[in-house]
Symmetry: C2
Subunit: 330 residues, 2 copies
């Protein structure tokens, strides 16, 4: 499902380091060389390169990259070069610090990563920021909105931060295939009842979404669909612009069909005037080794245009080349 | 700080297994032999014995133990023989299933274990119960009390389960020594203000207690004491019988002085008519390799009686011998 293309014969790590060092030195930077190396190495290979580079030149590879390139290209290369867990920690930290209700990054990280990966991101967060992810979310997401004068807005934002996002990222969900059918039935009914009474921020909805295993949730959503005649997400569209409901729908989509969730993020990043480079870079760097092939298929199906062509149309220069490399373009 | 006594020369694992097998077989069980082996091996040695025993005899050691002994002695030997993370998972599962407001086991596990140990317990929970600890707490602790007719009781129990215990066990606190002094000051003030207004279940109190690192919390509590003239726990004694306030105080004591927290659990288990064997067994088996020596010192200081003598006075037979072995009695 990955799009990343690693050459059949990969040069020795020392050779990669030497080439990268050359790309950084002299008059001007050799961006194409950077892309041809880092854009075609998997996570383990990039990790080995970072280690060897630091040992050989006494300088962090990421430091050299930051010194030599800039803008969207820099962000794409840096995010890509990071280990997946470190990258998630960096993205989650940005999202927690600059959080606003439309920001889906925390939902994405909490709900599309496996339990072990999410925990690895929390460990990397400790390592890098000397704090825990959940304490930053609890402090920032609640905090920023406490300052607003509107009492109802403030209460709603509390629901986001403390009640929803913190348990979502703190969960260590069971990730086995076992499903309790009786439980799926009873919890589908609870969800339906709460949604019917528009009690969207009810503790029970949050409890079910933030603690049950993915397999269990899929069974619950399927039973919901079978019994009540439409998917749960349709029932959560009562007010299509409400950011809290949008967040609940995003959570459910991340569980049920992550590739379609990501297709939509990419589509919205490309659509309209101007491009949302941060979202585009985030999806491509975080999914290139996971399921970007499925996201590309979903994109082509939904937009009748290959994702590579859409990206090429909306970006340019080295940034474009880097994204296309990760998209697996020959 | 451990009380466990491991002999200077430990027999080979195969020899321990053979002796244990002998202890289980024939007419009657040789309880003294079981204690003399398992009561004097550390976690790594017990793990090796369990593995070798299963390999050699095609039966789990814990199964053989359960078949041969019973009652409080069985419970003590089984809990002790388990790996610390497994033991915590078993204790947490019992506590979640049979939870009532006076039960402190979940608080104890969440607040006296290091971050990595708490996470190991959550992993062991997956392994053993095919569910997550937080989903069981969220479902049981909220669930049982939803059935009560009293609406206010129900709301209060929600606060326990969903708002307090779930984030408490889900936290992966940063465990480095770094302290943010400014933050300690501002959060001590927040705590004081909320407590002053009797807003004990306010989101801010819960956020601070469930997300901040231990080092940070100690700084906050110290500043609280310095600024407001008495320890935070004194201010949380407004209604000494309120179980929610008692739980908050237990959380704070687990962070600030775990040995005194455990001393009190042991003291109450022994005091009065009848003994609370479960609590006694739990503290001794979970702390014998950690800080039982400090707990013994605290007990002697508070009760003017050595803990061994108090235990010997309140228990008997093989159960007594097992506890005394773990307490380090020669």
């Amino acid at each position: 499902m990955a799009t990343l293309k690693v050459p059949a014969t990969v040069p020795a790590v020392a050779e990669d380091c030497e080439q990268l060092r050359k790309a950084f030195q002299g008059w001007g930077t050799n961006e194409a060389l950077i892309i041809s190396i880092l854009g075609h190495r998997d996570a383990a290979q990039r990790r080995a390169i970072r280690r060897a580079y630091a040992d050989t030149y006494g300088e962090e590879l990421l430091r050299s990259i930051t010194d030599e390139i800039s803008g969207d290209f820099e962000r794409a290369v840096i995010l890509w070069t990071l280990d997946p867990a470190e990258r998630d920690a960096v993205l989650a930290n940005e999202a927690a610090r600059k959080w606003q209700p439309g920001n889906r990054v925390l939902v994405e990280i909490a709900c599309t990563r496996g339990s072990a990966q999410l925990f690895a991101a929390r460990q990397a967060y400790h390592e890098r920021f000397k704090r825990s992810l959940e304490e930053d979310i609890a402090a920032h997401v609640t905090g920023d909105f406490r300052k607003t004068s509107s009492r109802s807005l403030s209460a709603k934002m509390m629901t986001f931060g403390h009640n929803l996002l913190v348990p979502l990222v703190s969960a260590y969900r069971y990730d086995g295939p076992e499903v309790n059918t009786r439980l799926a039935h009873s919890e589908a009914k609870i969800l339906h009842e709460k949604i019917h009474h528009k009690a969207y921020s009810d503790d029970e909805i949050i409890r079910i979404l933030t603690t049950r295993s993915k397999a269990q949730l899929l069974a619950t959503f399927n039973y919901y669909n079978d019994t009540f005649g439409h998917p749960i997400n349709k029932d959560l569209k009562a007010d299509p612009k409400d950011e809290y409901l949008k967040t609940l729908r995003a959570i459910i989509r991340c569980f049920t069909c992550p590739e379609r969730y990501f297709e939509k993020v990419v589509r919205q990043a490309i659509a309209g005037l101007g491009t949302d480079e941060n979202s585009l870079t985030r999806v491509i760097t975080t999914r290139a080794e996971v399921d970007l092939k499925l996201i590309k298929e979903a994109y082509q199906k939904r937009n009748s245009v290959p994702l590579e062509r859409a990206v090429a149309g909306d970006t340019s220069g080295d940034y474009e080349s880097m994204l296309l490399a990760l998209l697996g373009q020959e």
